[in-house]
């Protein structure tokens, strides 16, 4: 239906020729923008309602004193539904470790929460299809669980800033929201998020449409295809400064995949965009000593690169 609408606008109303480069690019742009905004609005709203039932304070209680493995798996899963903003990473981290959430379990949460987020999933689903979105969720969870377990095994508690262990943490009795409050919160959340990401989506889809229409087929196959061993690490390095722009990056990556970028490289790049971020590293420096910070980002980067090679080899 959306496709018919886009076709009608471009080829009938504007009168561009079907099959022409400009016509196809504009058709692609209108169709993708409509589809993505429709998906974003409905799914962000639904996810926001679900999230109101999982405040971080509750997640903290569930994870406190959990053993490793079970704790890591639970933490990675709760990371999907617990609302998290890197701006409150410091109080969240202190609250978690102070209430007895093991360090490795805390890291599983800190990795999964930004990486497996609804915006990235909607964009992947809308543009790449549900299979790729599911692979992304699955591998994202595995990366979060494994990296958390490794950090737990390394026993790095002494590389948490000393003041964290001395902090006095109160117990907030937070009044649960009524259903009506949940709905109004979700509406407000959706509005705020869309307001923030819409320019990125439009620019991203626009650039994607341009690549789709004008860049020659197989343009990238030679240097971003499965045969180039450097493609994955380079994609990961490029993903770091693009933090939090998943909404704008995914449409571009989608178009690049059509031109020959390999799927493992695409996944690794996406994970780097969502999970590896300089601002978050700076924020976490408040609670982690350099050694643990380096170990955290080192393990995470390594895991993401492995994901890239793995999927380039098997898909």
């Amino acid at each position: 239906m959306l496709k018919n609408f886009a076709d009608y606008v471009v080829f009938t109303l504007i009168g561009l020729v079907p099959g022409s480069r400009g016509g196809e690019a504009l058709d692609f742009f209108i169709y993708d923008t409509l589809k993505i905004f429709l998906l974003l609005t409905t799914i962000i709203y639904i996810v926001a309602i679900i999230r109101t039932s999982f405040p971080p304070e509750k997640t903290k209680r569930v994870l406190s004193h959990k053993r490793e493995y079970v704790g890591n798996i639970l933490a990675a899963l709760l990371g999907i539904v617990t609302p998290f903003c890197s701006c409150s990473a410091v109080p969240l981290f202190i609250g978690f470790v102070e209430s007895g959430v093991p360090l490795g379990v805390t890291f599983s949460f800190l990795i999964s929460s930004p990486m497996v987020n609804e915006v990235a999933l909607i964009m992947l689903w809308g543009l790449f299809g549900w299979k790729i979105a599911l692979i992304y969720i699955g591998t994202g969870l595995v990366v979060a669980i494994v990296a958390g377990i490794i950090i737990g095994k390394l026993k790095m508690e002494k590389y948490v800033q000393d003041y964290v262990w001395k902090m006095q943490v109160g117990n907030a009795e937070i009044v649960p929201l009524t259903f009506r409050e949940k709905l109004s919160y979700a509406l407000e959340y959706t509005r705020e998020l869309l307001k923030k990401i819409w320019p990125y989506v439009v620019v991203g889809v626009g650039l994607g449409a341009f690549i789709h229409g004008y860049v020659p087929q197989d343009f990238l196959a030679r240097w971003a295809g499965p045969d180039n061993p450097f493609a994955v690490p380079i994609a990961v390095a490029l993903g770091v400064p693009l933090y939090s722009n998943a909404a704008g990056v995914i449409p571009i990556v989608h178009a690049l995949m059509e031109k020959g970028m390999a799927i493992g490289t695409v996944l690794a790049f996406m994970m780097a965009v969502t999970a590896l971020s300089l601002p978050e590293a700076i924020i976490l420096k408040n609670v982690l000593k350099n050694r643990l910070l380096a170990v955290f980002f080192g393990i995470l980067t390594f895991a993401i690169v492995c994901v890239g090679y793995l999927f380039n080899a098997i898909l």
């Binding site: 971080p56 409150s88 410091v90 109080p91 609250g95 902090m167 006095q168 009795e173 109004s184 959340y189």
Partner: protein
């Protein structure tokens, strides 16, 4: 009445502060509004997601920006 806005100075915290000020003004009550930005004070309230609103020592909500109307209802 003492109202505290807990948050480490992110954009959302500023919005919550502005909304709270507007709510107090609209309701026409006497209230002291303070921004609490240091981590130990935030942690003392047991809040782990910011921004949060504390009225007379009681945490009303955390991890979201409430609208002016919502805040009026809580004062």
């Amino acid at each position: 009445m003492k109202i505290e806005i807990l948050g480490t100075g992110c954009a959302k915290c500023k919005t919550l502060y502005e909304n709270t000020r507007a709510a107090v003004q609209e309701k026409g009550i006497e209230a002291e509004i303070v921004k609490v930005e240091d981590i130990p004070s935030i942690m003392k309230h047991g809040v782990i997601s910011t921004p949060a609103l504390v009225v007379d020592g009681q945490v009303k909500f955390s991890g979201k920006v409430a609208s002016i109307a919502e805040i009026i209802g809580m004062l």
